[in-house]
């Protein structure tokens, strides 16, 4: 059977939030700019990055995501997310290892209501005619620099966004422990570009993904989309195969 993750969930929770309630209502964020840079990663650590509930994709991948909202119900914000591509049983998923978000209402809401592993920072999503980029600095060190180079328009329907499995501390039946929270946003894309993927800086320790090395570019996309963050419907025990460990709420 496929390779399972072997990471101890307790060791993946450095940035995992605590979700006081899973009774989250859906929320639509209008006209969000979304940059996604996808790379294949070194397979040596692929199983160390995800808990036993999940399988690494074949080949293993990361998605570096930058989002910028100018307005909307959570106000203006920019966020950078690093996600490891994976499968929950047969479903395509991504496990975020860490996210950096500008300070404000969005950071709190994304963390507390949808389990994004957020720390506060100043990610910068830049749009140029020849490229779009996301950059994150930690003090004077650039811990992430990823780009889409040479954008060309593609069809709005050509893109596929996969759901996230967000590791969060949740109290259930009197016990607080890490659970994977399924977050499957809907994307209503109004404009889409595709281009070459390029990662110029990636500090794996900063992103809580020790020894993860992006090694082979796949593709990058840049879209404008209305994103509806969903009501939480499923959580999954990170220690059990997703096929048996998933709980419907």
């Amino acid at each position: 059977m496929p390779i399972n993750g072997n990471a101890d969930p307790a060791k993946l929770t450095q940035y995992a939030p605590t979700m006081a309630s899973l009774d989250t209502e859906a929320l639509t964020l209008p006209n969000v700019k979304v940059l996604t840079v996808i790379y294949e990663i070194d397979d040596a650590v692929m199983a160390d990055l995800i808990p036993p509930a999940l399988h690494p994709t074949i080949p293993p991948t990361i998605h570096v995501i930058g989002m910028k909202a100018e307005d909307g119900p959570l106000g203006a914000f920019t966020i950078a997310i690093v996600r490891v591509g994976c499968r929950a049983a047969v479903r395509p998923r991504g496990l975020p290892t860490r996210a950096v978000c500008t300070e404000g209402e969005a950071a709190s809401a994304l963390k507390e209501r949808w389990g994004f592993p957020i720390t506060i920072g100043e990610p910068m999503l830049r749009q140029r005619y020849d490229r779009q980029s996301i950059e994150v600095n930690d003090g004077n060190v650039t811990v992430l620099s990823a780009q889409l180079v040479d954008p060309v328009p593609i069809g709005n329907g050509d893109l596929l966004y996969t759901a996230g499995m967000h590791l969060a501390n949740i109290e259930r039946d009197g016990e607080t422990k890490p659970w994977l929270v399924q977050v499957d946003p809907e994307f209503e894309v109004s404009r889409a570009d595709r281009g070459q993927a390029q990662i110029d800086a990636f500090d794996s320790d900063f992103w809580d993904a020790p020894d993860l090395r992006p090694v082979y570019p796949i593709v990058a996309s840049y879209t404008t989309a209305n994103i509806t963050l969903p009501k939480i419907r499923y959580i999954c025990d990170p220690m059990q195969p997703a096929i048996s460990g998933t709980v419907a709420l």
């Binding site: 399988h55 074949i58 080949p59």
Partner: protein, 379 residues
């Protein structure tokens, strides 16, 4: 209705103790039995890098071994990947011709383009271009087979005039097929006068719609080869057991394992947005298959050939009513079913199911003009 067997050659971890050798030789044993039982064809995929799901990267070698160990069964490339980074078209034509010669004219030539980033990325092929290169291969390979010399300057490749040798044993050339895993690809097959080699596990209504569309369009086709190969094949699972519940339960393990493995791969569409791959094709269908909750209860998904002979006869008659000419069966995945049980299942199918289906249609071909004049099938 004709019956074939279909190989992905799935090899479970751990890959030690000669497991690949064991699996390959079990497959050959199954092929020998299928030949004795009167199966029409054995098909082998071409896949690369698809861990556990398919270790069948050199199907021409496997099929050559099949041909050498059998007498009647036809050998089907299901499919040759028609992308230059995988197979140069000249080599594809040459290898196929040799296989046709060695098998005494038993080759069926399937064409396709791969649907996973796992493979296309691994071969450094551009997913945007695979439709175009496939199209070019389907037009040029038959010319390499039928013209004494051939020269060409195109998009995927160019070559000064040379004699591409040897020529196939079948004249003018082996029947050609198109792998149909994405909706609409049956139209590509029909427009080129090629067989529709279905590789997904859709239900009856979906299949009937595809067949009707195929039959309608092929009447006005422009054949890529020297003749029209109007046939519709679909793929299915096979586990036949005297006890229906046991058959369904064991067969469900097979369908579930196959779908689970397929879902771990990376379809092009998931990571590389392109109009060339508008949907995940086979992988999405397999995922649905895996979600049928294998092994529970005595029901089986519509059309899936697992159960006792009576159930299989009933399901196959429905496929026949949809206009399907041939069903190719997957017999195992991850060695989920022990070899003796696979062989018993094949025997039981051969003895109790196959006799219910007349095999009186011509084996391969019909001319485009005859087709154009014939009444429309499925209208």
């Amino acid at each position: 209705m004709k019956f074939g067997i279909f190989y992905e050659i799935s090899v479970p971890r751990p890959w030690e103790n000669d497991i690949e050798h064991t699996v390959y030789h079990r497959c050959l044993e199954q092929v020998r039995l299928a030949d004795e039982l009167g199966f029409h064809s054995v098909w082998a995929v071409e896949h690369h890098f698809l861990e556990e799901y398919s270790h069948c990267s050199a199907p021409e070698l496997f099929l050559t071994a099949c041909a050498m160990q059998t007498k009647q069964i036809r050998v089907g490339h299901g499919i040759v990947v028609c992308v230059p980074q995988f197979n140069h078209p000249i080599r594809a034509a040459e290898r196929a011709a040799v296989l046709d010669i060695l098998s005494d004219g038993r080759l069926e030539f399937g064409t396709g383009r791969s649907a996973t980033w796992t493979e296309l990325g691994g071969m450094d092929a551009n997913p945007d271009e695979t439709k175009e290169t496939w199209d070019e291969y389907t037009r040029t390979i038959p010319q390499m087979w039928t013209n004494e010399r051939f020269g060409y300057e195109g998009r995927a490749f160019k070559m000064p005039t040379r004699a591409v040798l040897p020529k196939p044993y079948q004249k003018p050339h082996p029947p050609m097929w198109v792998a149909v895993s994405s909706p609409g690809t049956e139209v590509d097959a029909a427009e080129r006068g090629m067989g529709s080699l279905g590789l997904t596990f859709g239900g009856f209504a979906e299949q009937e719609e595809k067949v009707n569309r195929y039959r309608r369009i092929i009447r006005d086709c422009e054949p890529a080869g020297a003749f029209v190969n109007e046939r519709v094949a679909t793929v299915n699972f096979l586990y036949c057991h005297p006890d229906n519940e046991t058959g369904i339960k064991t067969g469900s393990r097979l369908t579930g394992s196959f779908g689970y493995l397929a879902a771990q791969l990376l379809p092009v569409r998931e990571v590389h947005p392109t109009r060339s791959y508008p949907n995940p094709g086979l992988l999405a269908a397999s995922r649905q298959q895996a979600e049928q909750t294998p092994g529970q209860g005595a029901s089986a998904p519509e059309g899936v050939c697992i159960g006792n002979p009576d159930r299989l006869i009933e399901e196959i008659k429905k496929w026949e009513a949809c206009g399907v000419d041939q069903i190719n069966f997957l017999l195992n995945a991850l060695e989920t079913i022990p070899q003796e049980q696979v062989l018993d299942s094949l025997r039981l199918f051969g003895e109790e199911v196959m006799p219910h289906f007349a095999d009186d249609k011509p084996a391969t071909t019909s001319g485009a003009r005859e087709l154009a004049a014939a009444p429309a099938a499925g209208d």
